[in-house]
């Protein structure tokens, strides 16, 4: 039988039943491997009783020991889990759960009521497991929009582990499908690169709908290490976060560079000691070397690894960064060399460019996704077959340096990365177009001199320019928070190209 993610937990529960599997510093609660495996089995049982089985999907939300038990419970019941953002507008989360027709949802009570209202299905919450009480905000189990579907679709769906939704250029988020095998290709590489032991304590900073969580959840639980949950609210408070890293004796850290920069700037790191910290992983965006150097002035002893890979590939390249960035260096570090058993090429179209030339990075191998949920056209558009392999187009423009490492240069399309989150300007434009006063909207991202990503929305409105405050509020009700534009620029009409399309090049010049 092929390996599955929940099997990692079961194996650790056998080997290390009494070791601490998960700690939640916000509630002070922790569970041993034996307890956590039992909780997951209990949730699996409740899900089965609700009709969930192999080939289904289960929506999950929140960030607590209970949520983690729901994730493992879903997989144990044979289903794939679909994590949704607690803080995103309920309409967006509901659209995601409807898109992949989840059979059940396990979410905090308040959210599940909103989701049921959005989805137009009866809100009949059940307690998934009395034993989850006190392990985070109370979770309830409700039927999902796919509850009436025939059981067990069979085939590929049975191997799906999770579906992670990312921003889509037409305004509709797209679901990245990973199998147990594609997740394990990456998790196994982590085991080799980090050599975790049961003494390790891993941070779990990223929310579960963000793909950094794959390392956070599965690598520690595979090795009998401890996973330290960091609730979303605390994750954004640098002073509290610095204290937590020290007090919880985190040994393997993983986050976006933005969070590390916040820690350096506002975390008062000098007040604490971090002797346990041995690895600092970062991913999701470029880490400006100035900020990295300042971090290393406080944290001089750990290893630093830059991990790279879109959600579609898991981590497919990595670069070990020196513990002390040389003073004269100003360029960010490369994204590095292939890992997770993947192969990478730099191409123009489907033809390899000469070594050292710019081109698009394409990836093939075990950690690459199956495709986008229910969207064969989008899936076909990002893959091409060649030399017996299926190559995923990252859309990232890179070149190979003298050492054979890939250097990230930019994007082929308009996609923006902010704090590690992918943002398709088209999704923001679609939300702005829904505003009754907006006639035209064009959204652009740029990076300022300090390395900060600034998103500007150019608008033409029906009557007079709208209030910036009103627009920001509109966006906060229609978009995830990280997508809200920083600036709004008002025009009588947006500039057009000769083919009457919005002239983004000209708008770029205006910003």
């Amino acid at each position: 039988m092929s390996r599955r993610l929940e099997g990692l937990l079961e194996a650790s529960a056998t080997r290390h039943p009494d070791r601490t599997a998960v700690v939640d510093p916000s509630t002070g609660r922790s569970v041993s491997y034996a307890e956590f495996a039992a909780l997951s089995a209990g949730v699996a049982e409740a899900l089965r009783a609700a009709g969930v089985g192999p080939g289904d999907r289960v929506g999950v939300s929140g960030k607590s020991i209970a949520t983690l038990a729901a994730i493992f419970g879903a997989m144990r019941a044979g289903a794939a889990y679909v994590p949704v953002d607690v803080s995103a507008p309920a309409a967006r989360s509901a659209a995601i759960l409807a898109d992949c027709a989840v059979r059940a949802v396990v979410a905090p009570r308040e959210l599940s009521a909103k989701l049921a209202a959005e989805l137009g299905i009866p809100d009949e919450p059940r307690d998934p497991l009395p034993a989850l009480a006190g392990l985070g905000p109370q979770l309830v189990l409700t039927a999902g929009p796919g509850a009436g579907a025939p059981a067990d679709l069979g085939g590929e769906d049975r191997n799906l582990a999770y579906v992670l939704y990312t921003s889509g250029s037409t305004g509709k988020p797209k679901g990245v499908m990973h199998t147990h095998a594609s997740a394990l290709a990456f998790v196994d590489w982590c085991a080799e690169a980090f050599r975790p032991t049961p003494e390790d304590r891993f941070s779990s900073h990223a929310p579960f709908h963000f793909d950094l969580s794959i390392l956070d959840i599965y690598v520690p639980l595979m090795h009998g290490s401890t996973l330290v949950l960091i609730p979303d609210e605390l994750g954004k408070q640098p002073t509290g976060l610095a204290a937590l890293i020290a007090e919880e004796r985190i040994s393997v850290w993983y986050s976006t560079p933005s969070i590390l920069t916040l820690l350096v700037e506002f975390g008062r790191l000098e007040r604490y000691e971090f002797p346990a910290l041995r690895i600092v992983n970062f991913a999701g965006e470029v880490f400006p070397v100035g900020n990295l150097r300042r971090l290393q002035a406080s944290w001089s002893h750990p290893r630093y690894l830059n991990l790279y890979g879109p959600t579609e590939t898991n981590v497919c390249t990595f670069c070990e960064v020196p513990g002390r960035v040389p003073d004269e260096r100003s360029d960010p570090y490369p994204i590095g060399v292939p890992c997770s058993g993947d192969r990478c090429r730099v191409v123009d179209g489907t033809t390899d460019v000469a070594r050292g030339e710019e081109g698009e990075l394409v990836v093939a191998g075990g950690s690459v996704m199956v495709g986008y949920w229910n969207d064969p056209a989008k899936t076909d558009a990002v893959f091409f077959e060649q030399h017996g392999d299926r190559w995923y187009r990252t859309g990232d423009v890179v070149r190979e340096d003298e050492s054979g490492a890939y250097v990230f240069l930019g994007r082929r399309d308009r996609m923006i990365k902010r704090r590690g989150y992918r943002i398709e300007p088209g999704e923001i434009e679609a939300a702005l177009h829904r505003h009754p006063e907006v006639v035209e909207a064009a959204v652009l991202g740029r990076t300022d001199a300090a390395g900060k990503v600034v998103i500007t929305a150019h608008l033409a409105c029906r009557t007079e320019p709208l209030s910036v405050i009103a627009l920001k509020r509109w966006c906060s009700e229609n978009l995830p928070l990280y997508m809200i534009p920083d600036r709004f620029s008002f025009h009588d009409a947006l500039p057009k190209t000769s083919t009457d399309k919005v002239d983004y090049q000209m708008l770029k010049g205006l910003a």
Partner: protein, 84 residues
Amino acid sequence: MGQTVEAIKSYILAEFLAGERPDALDENTPLISGGILDSISTLKLVAHLEETYGVEFQAHEVSADHLDTLGDIARIVESKVAAK
């Protein structure tokens, strides 16, 4: 109160609401829950307040519960200044 509100209002308009009419921002405008201050902007604001008023914020105070409106912000700053 008035003076503190005005000073903080000018800072927020300049830093986070470029192009907005000053009279559109009042003491009750929701800043964090209204999508104006994201987590990083909130930290920048707090760093600015700590520097300007010589006060220190606790981690739990940096949240929408304590800093969602100009009125909230001015109140917490003034109580910290008074307690110095």
